[in-house]
Symmetry: C2
Subunit: 626 residues, 2 copies
């Protein structure tokens, strides 16, 4: 029947794309149509849009950039609209799934909790604002990333997130051991150096309290205060240096590597389980599809054609036929359960139906296209020397860019445009744009050409943004060279092959950044004020407590939490780790010593855990690749 | 015959220990006896001693610590003695191995080259010194580590070294790609920022030349100048910050992880091959031993006993019997070739012959030992609460140490001594000292007791060295707690199980450090002079060119190359990476800009290559463990 066909197509499509939701509802026609509406592309993109708007609200909420500052009511109202949309999505989900599953699934509970907390938060905050009470805090805002992680559409991000959260118990023992090791060394350092009255080069007392000793040694494990932390001891008594050598060898080179190894091990273990779960779910979906389509233990060709018409209405008969032949290599006219399994994988393979190999030019001007000079040009373009010549030209161009020989630029641009045109002519548009490198070339050269023309025709000179973009476009030409060398190509292809997963980790990273940024904005907004950067003449960033600290000496006033972009920039700097203790000590100076905890927590979450898991991911991806 | 027995025993012993040299000579009685002399323990230890003396010469050669400075003739003469010893070892090796093998083996050629170069260097240097010529350089000194790597005795270090050198070709492509990426970003940065007239917080011009741009971005990949390198751009125009974000994401998080992944992959590949080679060599040795011992395709028990008497004269008949039973589980009285293979592994298992289970006290005072209170005490000691009580006591002691409650120390010391005595009494000396933790306890508590007694009896108060050691001994007690928690124990055991390999990597690291230290001493000795550390009042370290640089502001005068220990300390700081550009710029200021190359080369060799291989080793060790 039509319903069964649609249901089978849904199961197959879910097996292909990795959705597991269709396993969790009773497949009545009503439920199925609700589910298909839920899973539809417009629903997905609308949800992404609402999420993006919701996350972006932090740009307009206090503290905001001065140019983006609006009355608090606007973002609050927009947030209520977003929440209303989430409620609608939840109700939609609830309308077709079984209630038993819905209320047991942690993801749904998380979304509903965040929705409730957000509503409470907004109402309380509005109430406090309207009654003029002081100290209203929008405390639900850091929870927003939870929505991003827990919606059914973000399977990929959730998978990366799971690999983070499931690694935690495995690595906990090693982490605690590391902390104990740190506490012990801090005790020794405090006893060894604390009573000698030594000072750092900047005048700070040296290991004068136990808390400072713990913090300074933790910073040393992140290498951020090396070798400054060793200098007073080295100067007072050179053998004391050995204390730091032993500490660094054990804490940095041994423990940090062991933590990475434990994380890697745990990652591998869970990856295996993940793959097994995914395969099992796919099997289940495909066997359901089989039981719907199969007659007498096999799927007949007619049923296959009918389900493909529902599944891929855009596929031509030819393509459907080719797929059938792949699925049924023996040609006995029927598919067993195992044969059908392959369909889910097969649909993931990108197939281009080559409808016309004749290029546009050939069709329009056949005689000219097939004349001898034209054929010769096409042959030359396809040969190696042509490519080498333009590679050489790029190198020469890079040198002229480096030595500011701008007058040659038009010639180079013309040459590269000619290259593109020749290639288009020789390979045809379709084949030309099928290659990513050609696309890249087209954008970079075309962009540079456009900007140059606009500049020349309007006589713009001082517009730095246009100039900067043009300059970047010029420099980026060099990237094309990397495709010319075989080893580079191999490395780049490997990286490209897991670029999608890298983007997924970027999503997890964004969630962590957003969470910490909003907390940091609540804690530290307007504690450090921006001040003009004046090399050699430090300012106190609007707080006398920062006078004569490394924070003000290094002119870190721009590293503040006074808006979302600024906070994200600070967190990025913290992720790179270096000088994070200067930032931490700066914020500790203008608030309390407890402020250091925020920075340590971010380091542990982002660097020790997340970046190590990313390393584990790259390691495993490379091993699976080779 | 006796010779055949000795030869078989030699093959088996070589298969056990991993020597492969016995495969490379004609096994005549004369050659065999020479080989056994070459492989003997005294020969090995004498060689180690000579190597240690040779390496230590750098302490006395110029530049040396003032207290160790001697006339250049003394170290040169000692070095000649060392070289004479190496020549003797080479001749010894040549006396029994086949010449074809000797002159083809790269290791022997390396040793002979270093010997020749050292002799030439010494003669030339002495000649120049005696004739009063200036500028004599002992350029052969950095080659000394090659001796350490290439002697037949350092198989382990060579294996680690091989894993470094064989990784190079695999990682070269990625490294070149990384460098190109760096050069491209440097070009962009130079174009974007160079013409804006920006300055760093310390007044240095910002991306003002292409060379500086490359160096500054390379330093950023090592994270050492973050976020300082971003601050001028961030202050001048916040969106410029994105340039650094993109650069860091690609160069640090992507490329550095890919380099680690490539190194890890290469390490795994070569490890597999290494193991296969070692197994093949062992098989060959054991099959030779079998063909010597076997009669009619099997080794009889009598022959086994005879060869064991040569191989392990110290083993009792009981132990030899047990080993036989393991090798011949069916009890058919003969060993096949495969059975014999196991002997090589079996001999590596540490076996303790328990000759007497009766403790000393039991033998001396049997009635007292077996009285009811004595039995009760022994039972209590073996129980969990006893252990928990003393664990708690350690925690309390750690707190008293932290809060300087020194008056309680004698009580704690007495308690811990009592614990040790009770344990010795309950378990017997032998069983007590069989456990590493008990040994540790004995040394830490016994040492603290001894020092305390000496201090109390002689009334010493101001001796800081004694006090420091005592203090460290006190703090180290806490380490014992780690054995009490199961998770910690698991991690510590894993680490302990590959501690021997870690020491091997330490050997390779020492070779690299020694090499770079001696080159650094030739290049930079006495360019930076030590000056007293005066917090808040920078000095110029004896060179006006350093005035107002970060090097002098941070008071890095002690980071000089004026003696071997100082140079090693600087290299250690470079290995930890942070602030390495301040050191590099300091030495560039007092010499030339090319000095930066030395520091970059060390970073590439030590951090990018060696430390990543160490990480690969830890990763693989963990995977094989679990
Ligand atoms: Na650093």
């Amino acid at each position: 029947s039509k319903h069964e066909l649609l249901l089978a197509a849904t199961y197959i499509e879910d097996a292909r794309s990795g959705w597991k939701l269709s396993l969790h509802f009773d497949p009545s026609p009503r439920n199925l149509s609700y589910y298909l509406a839920f899973r539809s592309a417009w629903g997905k993109y609308l949800l992404y849009l609402v999420l993006a708007v919701h996350m972006a609200l932090a740009l307009f909420e206090e503290p905001a950039l001065r140019t983006l500052q609006v009355n608090y009511l606007y973002p609050a109202c927009v947030e209520l609209f977003c929440v209303a949309f989430y409620v609608y999505r939840c109700l939609h989900l609830l309308s077709f799934t079984s209630h038993g599953w819905f209320w047991k699934d942690v993801k749904n509970l998380a979304v509903i909790s965040v929705i409730l907390l957000t509503i409470i938060d907004i109402v309380v905050f509005m109430g406090m604002k309207e009654t003029g009470a002081v100290g209203g805090v929008r405390w639900s805002r850091p929870l927003r990333p939870l929505l991003m992680i827990n919606i059914p559409e973000s399977r990929q991000i959730r998978r990366a997130w799971r690999s983070v959260s499931r690694t935690l118990p495995d690595v906990a023992g090693t982490m605690v051991l590391f902390v104990l090791n740190l506490l012990l060394f801090a005790l020794m350092a405090y006893k060894l150096f604390g009573s000698r009255g030594l000072k750092y080069a900047n005048g700070r007392p040296y290991f004068s309290t136990y808390q400072d000793s713990v913090f300074d040694l933790y910073v040393l494990v992140t290498t951020a205060n090396s070798p400054d932390v060793m200098m007073p001891a080295l100067n007072a008594s050179p053998p004391m240096f050995l204390f730091f050598v032993v500490f660094v060898l054990i804490s940095l080179y041994l423990f940090m590597n062991v933590i990475l190894a434990v994380i890697y091990n745990s990652y591998r273990k869970h990856l295996k389980k993940d793959v097994q779960t995914a395969v099992a779910a796919r099997r289940l979906l495909m066997s359901r599809a089989f039981s719907l389509l199969g007659r007498g233990g096999a799927v007949l060709r007619d049923d296959y054609v009918r389900v493909m018409a529902v599944l891929r209405p855009e596929h031509g008969t030819q393509l459907v036929d080719i797929l059938w032949r792949v699925l049924d290599p023996h040609g006995d006219g029927m598919l067993g359960e195992r044969d059908l399994y392959q369909l889910a994988d097969l649909l993931n393979v990108r197939v281009t139906e080559v409808k016309d190999r004749v290029t546009l030019l050939e069709r329009l001007f056949p005689s000219c296209f097939n004349s001898r000079p034209a054929v010769l040009v096409r042959r030359v373009v396809r040969q190696r020397p042509f490519r080498l010549f333009f590679d050489l030209l790029i190198v020469v161009n890079a040198i002229t860019i480096a030595v500011d020989a701008d007058q040659a630029e038009w010639a180079f641009l013309a040459a590269f445009i000619l290259e593109i045109l020749l290639k288009m002519y020789a390979f045809g548009f379709r084949e030309f744009f099928d290659k990513l490198w050609n696309m890249f070339d087209f954008v970079v050269i075309g962009g540079a050409f456009l900007i140059s023309v606009v500049r020349a025709s309007t006589g713009l000179q001082g517009n730095t943004l246009v100039l900067d973009v043009l300059l970047l476009f010029r420099c980026l030409r060099v990237v094309k060279l990397m495709d010319s060398v075989a080893i580079f190509r191999a490395v780049l292809r490997t990286i490209a092959s897991f670029s999608r997963s890298i983007v997924t980790y970027g999503g997890v990273l964004f969630c962590v950044f957003y969470f910490f940024a909003l907390i940091g904005m609540e804690l530290f907004a307007d504690r450090v004020m921006w001040a003009p950067f004046r090399p050699g003449r430090p300012t106190d960033c609007g707080d006398r407590l920062l006078k004569d600290t490394d924070f003000s000496r290094l002119q870190y006033c721009a590293n503040n939490f006074n808006s979302l972009p600024a906070a994200l920039a600070v967190l990025f700097e913290l992720m790179v780790v270096n000088q994070w203790h200067v930032l931490a000590d700066g914020y500790a100076a203008v608030t309390t010593q407890w402020a250091r905890l925020y920075f340590v927590a971010f380091h542990l979450c982002c660097v020790v855990l997340l970046l190590n898991i990313f390393t584990a991911f790259i390691l495993e991806a490379f091993i699976l690749e080779f």
